[in-house]
């Protein structure tokens, strides 16, 4: 299949763009595969890609119940960062961020990764202390961070509420300059094309309906397109993890919640980087098309409905206006809801399971998008080697039983709070 390059673009332009071929095949499922990945989202696609690229395992199928790019990989706010406090998370997300930095050339697909900086605001001395601590933890792990004072922040974002009567005065913030955003659809398409070029079968409109078992092993996956035999199975179906896990009798430390996100009407260049509010949960950036991309909290009740409720919308907008008063009259163009796997400690699970040849990738809470390449990398390793990569050792499923939790916020086993 043709490489994408400036030359192919010129050649196609001269021939009226009639010669482009589809970016990945649409194969019929084979009778069996060495590895089946359930879920054709970003993580599933990345896993299949790295299974083929890093481990030479190419007899792989990705089963997607809908279409590529139609799930949570297309339902996020596209933020990429690695500003974590705890080692188990920090090492993993930094590995992912490093992969982001070379992803476009690795995939030969422009994922539009833009390192425009992620700034977390602070509105009290206590918050500044917490930011300093997290920034130091990041630096100890070799991750970039900069603690900004009020004047630094004002220079970067003069239009935030620096007025005398701001309800939550800005004390400063923690900046990760290497953080930023990426084009979410391109990530899905790029990984799909990359995996397909290495021989992976991407099977869309193929919903998993059950499993065939032989003791502690899964021998086949039952789907809406027939039963498919399998060597190993990786599950990457965040949002619906509990439902698929139930088919093999696994009960997991996960609740599904709905998280809304919003895009405004397109504006001229307004906001350079990603800014998050510290006196409430709110984050905002601007897409290359000009729309402000923003979001806030969950709706705070278990939900599988991909739509949220108005009180949350009102709350998100109120927070936005408190942080950045100049968006008061901006109109919201569209909003949507995605279903989050909220884990019991707020950190993801990339792990072996009690079933010998079934591997689990789940529990992404609000933060799955930024992890896409790193998650695929270590999940592929876990499946291929039958043991975790050093970057996901801490993200095991057993940690809930053994007490080795990764609770960044110190919030306890209350999924809605993470």
């Amino acid at each position: 299949m043709a490489e994408y390059s400036v030359f192919s673009l010129v050649r196609q332009a001269l021939s009226g763009h009639k010669g482009w071929i589809r970016a990945w095949r649409d194969p019929e499922p084979k009778k069996s595969y060495d590895v089946i990945i359930i879920g054709g989202g970003g993580h599933g696609l990345a896993t299949a890609y790295y299974l083929a690229r890093n481990h030479g395992i190419t007899n792989v199928a990705i089963l997607e119940k809908g279409y590529i790019g139609g799930g949570n990989v297309g339902r996020n706010t596209t933020i990429v960062r690695s500003n974590y406090l705890l080692d188990g998370n920090n090492h993993f997300y930094e590995h992912s961020l490093k992969l982001w930095e070379g992803l476009s050339s690795d995939l030969n697909y422009n994922v539009m990764f833009s390192q425009r900086g992620v700034l977390n605001l602070a509105h009290s001395d206590g918050q500044m202390d917490a930011h300093a601590r997290r920034g130091n933890a990041m630096r100890l792990n070799g991750v970039d961070s900069a603690l900004l004072d009020r004047r630094d922040v004002q220079q970067l974002y003069p239009y935030l509420d620096f007025s005398e009567n701001a309800r939550f005065p800005i004390y400063g913030g923690l900046l990760q300059p290497r953080g930023g955003t990426a084009r979410h659809d391109a990530v899905a398409w790029g990984f799909a094309r990359g995996a397909d070029r290495l021989g992976v079968d991407i099977i869309q409109n193929c919903e998993v309906t059950g499993f065939e078992r032989d003791g502690d092993r899964v021998t086949a996956v039952k789907t809406s397109r027939g039963t498919i035999g399998c060597g190993r199975v990786g599950m990457a179906v965040a949002g619906n993890t509990s439902r698929v896990a139930q088919m093999v009798g696994l009960e997991l430390p996960i609740e599904s919640h709905v998280l809304q996100a919003f895009v405004s009407e397109p504006l001229k260049k307004l906001i350079d980087g990603v800014v998050t509010f510290g006196a409430g949960h709110f984050y905002i950036s601007q897409s290359d098309k000009g729309g402000l991309v923003l979001g806030g909290d969950l709706d705070f009740y278990n939900s599988y409905a991909q739509r949220g409720n108005l009180p949350t919308v009102e709350n998100v907008m109120a927070l936005g206006c408190a942080m950045m008063p100049n968006i008061r009259r901006v109109r919201i163009l569209r909003s949507w809801g995605g279903i989050m796997d909220m884990s019991m400690d707020g950190s993801p699970i990339i792990s072996k399971t009690p079933i010998d040849n079934l591997y689990l990738n789940a529990g992404w809470c609000y933060g799955g998008f930024k992890a896409t390449p790193g998650s695929g990398w270590v999940f592929a390793h876990t499946i291929a080697e039958d043991k975790p990569h050093r970057f996901n050792e801490a993200l095991s499923l057993e940690r809930f039983a053994t007490g080795h939790l990764l609770d960044e916020g110190g919030k306890g086993p209350t999924p809605k709070l993470h």
């Binding site: 009960e251 609740e255 009740y301 278990n302 599988y304 019991m344 809930f400 809605k416």
Partner: protein, 92 residues
Amino acid sequence: MIRIPCPHCGPRDHDEFSYVGDATKVRPADPAATSPEDWHRYVYLRDNPRGAHLEYWHHIQGCRAYLKVLRDTATHEVLASGRPEDALEAPR
């Protein structure tokens, strides 16, 4: 907005309530005699069904009582509600 019938106040908007969580989990009666596995099951593991879900809500900005609600997580429809000790069943 979800309308939740509070057994004390009648139907109210859900933003008067605070969501507590899964109501099928029962705290082990004798902590000292409970195995780590049973604690793990109680504290961390959830059925997380798509469909009817039994859950507690707290009418924090109303009568401040806790209530039990049976709600469909796929449609947000409230199927039944009552006091925490009530056994709820979906109508029909």
